[in-house]
């Protein structure tokens, strides 16, 4: 079942730029410039792109915060802006930099307020809260006012807040931004656990590609408001010819002009005692077998950061 669909979605902003001393010129900038996407129930989609690519703008149009300039958008069969309050009951939203919690109240109070706001039956609310408490270790700071929580604790609170009404789609805008390693892992494994159920559809934007590798089978890359890649991480590697690298340490320097089928020599270091090959065929064994006086080796998987950096530069 298609839960989210966008057809030719656009968002234009008019900005006034200085032109001369007093004059200002109006200019139209497309933050989102014709996006077509559809997302099925249970999918976990990573939505990435450089700063200003239109990630957050898309998310805000999906959640009913921003009105699209053109195109169609539907989430859970609803049109986000005209049916905003109905949609709000079906989705959960975590904006990394905007809190849903009450600053001066204990976390526990925010949760019970949200129960009233979303009109959740008490038993359902209690069951969901119980699950979040155990998965996210909330018990230590449930009675602390939100203003005194650490960023990691607050984010765990935000995640809980977004889930207490049992949404069918969860939108996360940079949920791991500014978190330390431990908190990032806690958030990721929590989301992975949620996604494992297969009911919840999850769309997340991030700059931390480890989030994507850990969580999302599908990766959508946008730049200048357009989709430049939509597929798996592997498809991205294939498309950009990412290759594994073989780093070898040798007892004797590599003879000049050394050629081995299935690999390209990238560089040599330490007077030829260390060499880096890029594997063009899939077997590292053939290369290793052809090398004289091998002492040590390591195999480096292609790095998604490199691929994405290349992608951002080419578009």
């Amino acid at each position: 079942m298609t839960l989210i669909s966008m057809k030719g979605l656009r968002k234009d902003f008019t900005v006034r730029v200085k032109a001369g001393r007093l004059r200002r010129e109006k200019r139209t900038v497309s933050a989102v410039d014709g996006i077509d996407l559809s997302i099925e129930q249970g999918e976990m989609v990573g939505y990435i792109g450089p700063n200003g690519a239109g990630k957050s703008t898309t998310l805000k149009m999906l959640t009913g915060v921003l009105t699209p300039s053109a195109g169609e958008v539907s989430v859970c069969g609803l049109r986000p802006v005209p049916q905003r309050t109905r949609l709000a009951l079906r989705i959960g939203v975590v904006f990394g930099q905007r809190s849903q919690l009450w600053w001066d109240l204990p976390l526990r109070d925010s949760f019970s307020l949200l129960r009233h706001i979303y009109r959740v039956p008490p038993q359902e609310h209690a069951a969901r809260l119980k699950r979040c408490r155990s998965l996210l270790d909330l018990d230590d700071f449930l009675d602390t006012p939100v203003r005194q929580l650490s960023l990691g604790q607050r984010m765990r609170g935000e995640l809980t807040a977004a889930l207490l009404h049992g949404p069918s789609v969860l939108f996360l805008d940079e949920p791991t931004i500014g978190l330390d390693v431990v908190s990032k892992q806690a958030v990721r494994s929590f989301l992975a656990e949620l996604g494992a159920g297969g009911d919840l559809t999850l769309v997340l934007t991030t700059h931390d590609l480890a989030d994507i590798e850990r969580l999302c089978r599908r990766l959508v890359v946008i730049d200048h408001g357009r989709v430049v890649h939509d597929g798996t991480i592997e498809a991205l590697h294939d498309r950009y010819g990412s290759r594994r690298r073989l780093v070898v340490d040798l007892d004797a320097p590599l003879p000049p002009g050394f050629v081995v089928p299935g690999a390209e020599l990238l560089s040599t270091e330490a007077d030829g005692h260390r060499a880096v090959f890029e594997l063009t065929s899939s077997s590292a064994g053939a290369v290793v077998g052809a090398l004289p006086a091998l002492r040590d080796l390591s195999l480096v998987e292609p790095d998604i950061e490199d691929v994405v950096a290349r992608l951002y530069r080419t578009v």
Partner: protein, 264 residues
């Protein structure tokens, strides 16, 4: 289960309770504010015996109606001017993803409880004003004394919302809105005949400020309107308030559609 809006208001109360001392100080200093508004008008009557044909006690009725209506609107809707902050910081995003109306949420999340005592002062001054004027009470006038402050409050509330909505188009609108809200309150505190020409036509009648306190007061007092409106003109104030409220609702909706949000 409690109404969601009631829950929001209660949360606000508990947030205030966590800063108890500063709340009490705010509460008391706000009373002073309201009293000063009234005193400012009374001082004028010290200089001349009558203002535009209105005596001190009649003037007191006008300012007390204006003051109570404004206090009521300021208490319930006045904090909508915080919209600027919500728009500038993008906090409105968080409000818009909840299953409740955006305007009621904004109002209840910041209900200025510190302004509560102003209402008490406003009612007190109105009671004094009714006492010092010899009003020939009829059922219609009794109804009017209840309706007029409420209609005035709705009217000022609409002005608050309209002024705040400007932020959606123009984030740096600064205190432009206050010119109409606080300026409007000051306008309504005096008998309308003190103004003249296009200024009076525009603010009192085209924009409707004359129907907040002046026209209801004239109707209550049962005296002739120097400006020639019929004796029942005071009863038009709820209608004027409704028109203003409709305009405000329109502006607010258009504004929300135009909201641009900020950053990520």
């Amino acid at each position: 289960m409690a109404n969601p809006y009631t829950s929001l208001a209660r949360a606000q109360w508990r947030s205030f309770a966590s800063y108890r001392t500063s709340f009490v100080v705010d509460l008391l200093s706000n009373v002073g504010g309201t009293a000063l508004d009234v005193v400012a008008v009374l001082v004028l009557f010290q200089a001349t015996r009558t203002v535009a044909g209105f005596s001190l006690s009649e003037g007191l009725l006008i300012v007390s109606l204006s003051s109570l209506a404004f206090a009521l609107a300021d208490f319930t809707v006045g904090n909508v001017d915080r919209l600027k902050t919500y728009v500038r910081t993008g906090l409105l995003d968080a409000v818009l993803v909840r299953p409740l109306g955006a305007l009621p949420q904004l109002l209840l999340m910041d209900l200025p409880l510190r302004k509560a005592l102003r209402l008490v002062v406003g009612v007190g001054v109105l009671a004094v004003a009714l006492h010092v004027n010899a009003i020939a009470w009829t059922p219609a006038r009794v109804a009017l004394i209840v309706i007029a402050p409420l209609a005035g409050a709705v009217f000022f509330g609409a002005i608050f919302v309209i002024s705040a909505s400007v932020t959606f188009w123009w984030i740096d609108s600064g205190d432009l809105g206050s010119a109409f809200t606080y300026g409007g309150r000051d306008f309504t505190a005096y008998p309308v005949p003190v103004y003249s020409g296009w200024f009076r036509a525009l603010f009192a009648y085209a924009m409707g400020f004359g129907f907040v306190a002046y026209q209801p007061a004239v109707t209550l007092l049962g005296r002739d309107d120097p400006l020639g409106l019929p004796a029942w003109a005071g009863f038009l104030s709820p209608l004027v308030a409704l028109i203003a409220a409709a305009a405000a609702a329109f502006m607010w909706r258009a504004g929300i559609r135009h909201y641009r949000s900020t950053g990520s």
